[in-house]
Amino acid sequence: MQRAIEEAGISTIIIAALPLVVRQNGAPRAVAPLVPMGANAGEPNNKEMQRAIVKDSLKNLVSIETPGEIVSLPYEYV
């Protein structure tokens, strides 16, 4: 899906709980906080963590220059 959108001319970034799967699928840009599948954008009701993850994801959308790069984000919810 991410690839289809990118192919259509829109820059994309994915917040991944499973970065290895995302790499295998050929995601153009990805960030990976330490989160379980289903809470990719952070702990439920933790606005600060969610906000930081969303903000950092968007910053990485701009800063990632290599296709396929996955940047770890320093947030943990397990």
Partner: protein, 150 residues
């Protein structure tokens, strides 16, 4: 020195391959971008049709100004406990609205997209659903997409 050539010879060892790259260069700064959310997490309006949990390659439109309380998840492929407590942990719609209000991004897309990833009819996703969703996003002049999946 001569070599023996065997055409079509393949290794017995499965070696995963990474598909070819798609890449759209970022040409604007964040405060000039309209951002859409796209999730494979099965998010949709409570008033909308639920996804078929055994496999569903359709997608749902989610208005950019939708309230988080009006959203729900139908997805059979992951533990829904967290997202049932707070939809923002898979679909950060309130967070992206806040960032638009603060001017960190220019705005929120008129329509976000939810679908049910994690398998199903991959050919339908690749050949039909993916291009349809991409087309909708292009039509509404979205500059960037933030995805949650995987």
């Amino acid at each position: 020195m001569s070599f023996t050539v065997v055409r079509g010879l393949q290794s017995e060892i499965f070696i995963p391959t990474v598909p070819p790259v798609f890449w759209t260069r970022v040409s604007k700064s964040l405060n000039e971008m309209v951002v859409a959310l796209v999730t494979a997490g099965g998010v949709h309006l409570k008033s909308d049709k639920t996804f078929r949990l055994a496999g569903d390659s359709s997608y749902r439109r989610i208005p950019g100004d939708a309230k988080s309380d009006d959203l729900m998840v139908s997805h059979g492929g992951y533990d829904n406990t967290d997202v049932n407590k707070d939809i923002n942990c898979m679909f950060p719609i309130d967070r992206i609205k806040e960032l638009a209000r603060e001017g960190f991004i220019k705005g929120v897309a008129l329509t976000h997209i939810g679908f049910m990833g994690g398998g199903g009819n991959i050919a339908a996703f690749t050949e039909i659903t993916g291009p349809e969703i991409a087309g909708e996003l292009v039509e509404q002049n979205v500059d960037a997409v933030l995805m949650t999946a995987g």
